[in-house]
Symmetry: D5
Subunit: 94 residues, 10 copies
Amino acid sequence: MLFLAHMQVNIPDTVPTERADRLKADEKALAQELQKSGKWRHLWRVAGQYANYSVFDVESNDELHSLLMSLPLYPFMKIEITALAQHPSAIAKN
Amino acid sequence: MLFLAHMQVNIPDTVPTERADRLKADEKALAQELQKSGKWRHLWRVAGQYANYSVFDVESNDELHSLLMSLPLYPFMKIEITALAQHPSAIAKN
Amino acid sequence: MLFLAHMQVNIPDTVPTERADRLKADEKALAQELQKSGKWRHLWRVAGQYANYSVFDVESNDELHSLLMSLPLYPFMKIEITALAQHPSAIAKN
Amino acid sequence: MLFLAHMQVNIPDTVPTERADRLKADEKALAQELQKSGKWRHLWRVAGQYANYSVFDVESNDELHSLLMSLPLYPFMKIEITALAQHPSAIAKN
Amino acid sequence: MLFLAHMQVNIPDTVPTERADRLKADEKALAQELQKSGKWRHLWRVAGQYANYSVFDVESNDELHSLLMSLPLYPFMKIEITALAQHPSAIAKN
Amino acid sequence: MLFLAHMQVNIPDTVPTERADRLKADEKALAQELQKSGKWRHLWRVAGQYANYSVFDVESNDELHSLLMSLPLYPFMKIEITALAQHPSAIAKN
Amino acid sequence: MLFLAHMQVNIPDTVPTERADRLKADEKALAQELQKSGKWRHLWRVAGQYANYSVFDVESNDELHSLLMSLPLYPFMKIEITALAQHPSAIAKN
Amino acid sequence: MLFLAHMQVNIPDTVPTERADRLKADEKALAQELQKSGKWRHLWRVAGQYANYSVFDVESNDELHSLLMSLPLYPFMKIEITALAQHPSAIAKN
Amino acid sequence: MLFLAHMQVNIPDTVPTERADRLKADEKALAQELQKSGKWRHLWRVAGQYANYSVFDVESNDELHSLLMSLPLYPFMKIEITALAQHPSAIAKN
Amino acid sequence: MLFLAHMQVNIPDTVPTERADRLKADEKALAQELQKSGKWRHLWRVAGQYANYSVFDVESNDELHSLLMSLPLYPFMKIEITALAQHPSAIAKN
């Protein structure tokens, strides 16, 4: 089951650079792991912004929420979720 | 080069049902052709709406605009485009 | 799996009264059937508006979209979907 | 009498972790007590956000406001209230 | 129990003048009756607009919704409701 | 002459509690005095928010602005003013 | 007492050209008369739009509303009013 | 050539009172000088807000921008510019 | 003096195709003439929309407004104007 | 391939003046270099704001994003990108 996520990241000045760097490295590692597992199906940068559009493939809303909350940068993200359904003209199954 | 498109469809009452049906059939045929060609990489229905999120893979802004204008339902669509770049944590190339 | 739906209804003047009345009656019958089946878990009127907030309990985004599209008044509705997850402080399971 | 509440929580960095944790624990305890009493009828997490949709069953606007102000996290919440009425197609009484 | 209502009126061209005039006369008569009964406590015109702010004093959300739906111009109104509570600095009881 | 005011209060963390408490007490005293004088005709709490809707009865825009600026919490308020005129269906004079 | 008005005009297609022309001529005549009387103090076109910003000098909100309602194009206008007060740095009296 | 400017002022807490007072005094002096020169043609306070609507009479966009940047409070202002043209019904020349 | 214009075109169904085609042809001819004259300095299509961003080089707000009003499609355009000034880092003069 | 960028700059108080000045100087130097290279085709100041509209000529979305991220003030910018296509009435090639 697919969800589109618009994720905007905003790490405030008050976070020390060192901690921010570690969070970003952890985020990247987990993001790649989740992509390999198939849960995080797509990850695209929005040109000109510290933001991304992602597509997640999960079993349920609860799994989606748990996955997002597990991200190291989650406390600094503003996330908007769109539930995606099968489009009748799509040639691929969701 | 990838672009996310948010496409909302609104066919007014004044369009005769027959014409609307033909337009939708033509739209579907062309959408599937473009998906097979790889230009229209993803096509998802927004749950609860006559709208979709799509990802297009084109050579240029001009090609994107020409492709969208060629859609039979284009005159009835409200389209918002987001330019997508390679995300540094993505494991796949755009 | 629960989804909150904000559903605004707007039947234009061009729909004959008779057809509008039949659509509303059919909508009511189906809404009650879906409530009895447990799929349409809650249905509340927004005070002062021809709109409702509803909670649907479905297996997937696809089931949600199919259910909404089956509503007789669907062509006249503007629907916004919010995916709901289990709240850690809730005493009831979703 | 039912009210839908959209509650967004934002605890600023300046609140010490220890205090934040105590506030969250107190919030949870009170939330569960109010759910058991029937006043806080539903509590759902918005997927991907530190926010919830809740339904309160109270005698009056004053009781609703008092209840919300009694929440330990109230000073950190942005709350939007929607008054709910009986829907003519609902099979349950509000 | 008090509710503030922001009521915008928009009678489309397609309504014949005669019917519009009759609706307005009926609306005025009912509005004055409801004011005399104490249910429609305040009624103010928004300067420069075909809109008003009103305060209703009702027993419940259901009574509020029924009252508003009974207005002859209700089908042509866009209404936003705000639930009002007793303000601690107010010298009058709501 | 009546004006509706939507007043949202936001006292930042940087204001010491003691000063905030004194400001609130002063605000309350002045608000009650102005209500008794008839200048601040209505004062209602917005349920669920640190905000109010008020109606002021003043001689001019200048008097309105002076009155609002004299409020101890004015520097922490976001205020939106709506000029109210006599409604033709109102049974009371503004 | 001064008010700024943002006035957007939108005459729908359904108004016959002849009637629209007569309304515009009447509007112009009245606008000029009101300017000469000093009630309509300023009238500026918004570049690129069928809209204006105006400043009215009236005795009360009621006079403002009556004046605006008397405009021949009033039924086709969307008007937003801002109450203006004396600015402490202004060298002219309002 | 006239421009309407909507200017909102927001001096943060971090600016020492003394510096804020000096900036305001300097702003007032310059504002009055520019009014006397005819460049700053109108200056009105928005009732209930730390904001003004102003009309500037300048030779060019560049002169407008330079003038605004020269204001002592410019760094604390949010400014929206509207280009004004001669209105065909205005009796005064811009 | 430069102005950025965001121009959205919406020709309603009620305009006969023949008239729409003639208007578009006239619009194109005039647009090209104005570009050659240097008044309409840039003209770009917004990808995916019946809209453009344009830059005009005119002597005054009045000239800008007159130019825009002379466009055959002006009655069907929604135009937003932004006044542009010389940027201190630009290597070209406006 | 052209992109319009709306770039708003907001350097918070917490950045020391010295560092801000160095960032601005570096930004200016790079902006001029990119203009000379033809990548940053246009750069205009929005009158009255610390913001600009720019047009970039790049090979791809990735090049656009890299270019923007390389700007010294990028962390303090809010950027909105619009993909531009060839307009059929434009006399110049994009």
